[in-house]
Symmetry: C2
Subunit: 223 residues, 2 copies
């Protein structure tokens, strides 16, 4: 998509990427975003989960406070998803960096009030985090749907910013006796822990036995 | 510390925690924050690294754009650090959640211009990410210091929000044949990868051979 004055990456422009495929891939790999709104003279920010379906990102309101209230009242929302891929250790302190992929979206949200649409949006969020999970759990009741606020944000004004690769040292530093390279970082899952207060009557579900974004291997139910 | 009207956690107040020890522990375990400012009618947000020393958080400007400019010009800064600890899988879709620890700070920043203070602040940021690293790398030159913007934010108006533990299902759902529990998540490090373009003349440094926050084990240099 075309960058706008505010989605245009200003610092380190070569790291800016406005292709939907790049933006969607980052949105699909992450599941926690930070959303922020200005209201009552303050910028409010919270972390929350989200889901993506096509051109829209869905955010629900169970954990939201001022941010979602302001967004629903028409305030512009800013949303950022950041994936941290590694520490970049250079020969000079100055050139130390972090490998990361981030996406920032700007826009006003659409409040979702229709129960059918709301249930689909909630399923999108839960299945975005753990694919297939909504097919395993009890669906929301009409009362639960009423108690949940869901909004959507169109992916219309967006940019990705990506840093990859090793350190970029100054030529005159290359011979210094300083180790330089990358320490890869990523999110990883441990073994699933069943509810101890009320042990489930069934074994671990398919959603936990498939490969997840937190490791290629599949079965997260051992241990 | 005392919550203020804006640092007071509104939703799920039982998750709010205003103790400095809780706030500092979260700030010290994380190393990527999101900072946001309002300027020119938009809320700008970026991910960036930070360090903490006592009552102050330091942020540097190499990767910052509108946010740091606005903050340096006097705009209020909002900063959030979020650590994701696990997925909470409940028997109902409605009660799905995420275990996390987050801190939000509000305030105006102090621009750091004194070269000595600036170098100490940059060292704080780098050593916050990887303790001892500044003792291994070439220190910043006077020109590099001039090219870097560093600000500090006092930990004065702050709150932590923490969710721990298993799913909280409705009583009538406990007997459902649905697995419920927690999938633990955390950040983990892989084996350090030396700069391939310019192989370092020395082996992996002590900073990579100590236990890190990404795993208890110590040596990150194998492989």
């Amino acid at each position: 998509m075309e960058p706008t004055p505010r989605s245009q990456v200003r610092r380190q422009r070569d790291r800016g990427d406005y292709r939907r495929e790049t933006i969607d891939a980052i949105l699909d790999e992450g599941f926690v975003c930070h959303i922020a709104c200005a209201a009552h003279g303050t910028v409010w920010m919270i972390p929350t989960t989200y889901g993506r379906a096509g051109d829209r990102v869905y955010i629900h309101g169970a954990a939201a406070n001022h941010v979602l209230e302001a967004a629903r009242a028409g305030a512009e929302l800013t949303m950022t998803v950041t994936l941290v891929d590694g520490l970049v250790l250079a020969r000079s302190t100055f050139h130390h960096s972090v490998n990361y992929r981030s996406v920032t979206l700007f826009g006003t949200v659409t409040d979702i009030t229709d129960p059918v649409e709301k249930e689909a949006a909630l399923a999108c969020i839960v299945d975005h985090i753990l694919p297939g999970r909504t097919g395993e759990a009890r669906p929301p009741s009409p009362v639960e749907l009423t108690r949940t606020r869901v909004v959507s944000l169109e992916i219309a004004e967006a940019s990705a910013k990506v840093r990859t690769g090793g350190p970029v040292d100054d030529e005159e530093d290359l011979a210094l006796p300083v180790w330089a390279g990358v320490l890869p970082l990523g999110q990883s899952a441990g073994a699933a822990q069943p509810d101890l207060d009320h042990p489930p009557s069934v074994g671990p579900p398919p959603s936990l036995r498939q490969p997840t974004r937190w490791g290629g291997g599949g079965d997260r139910t051992a241990g």
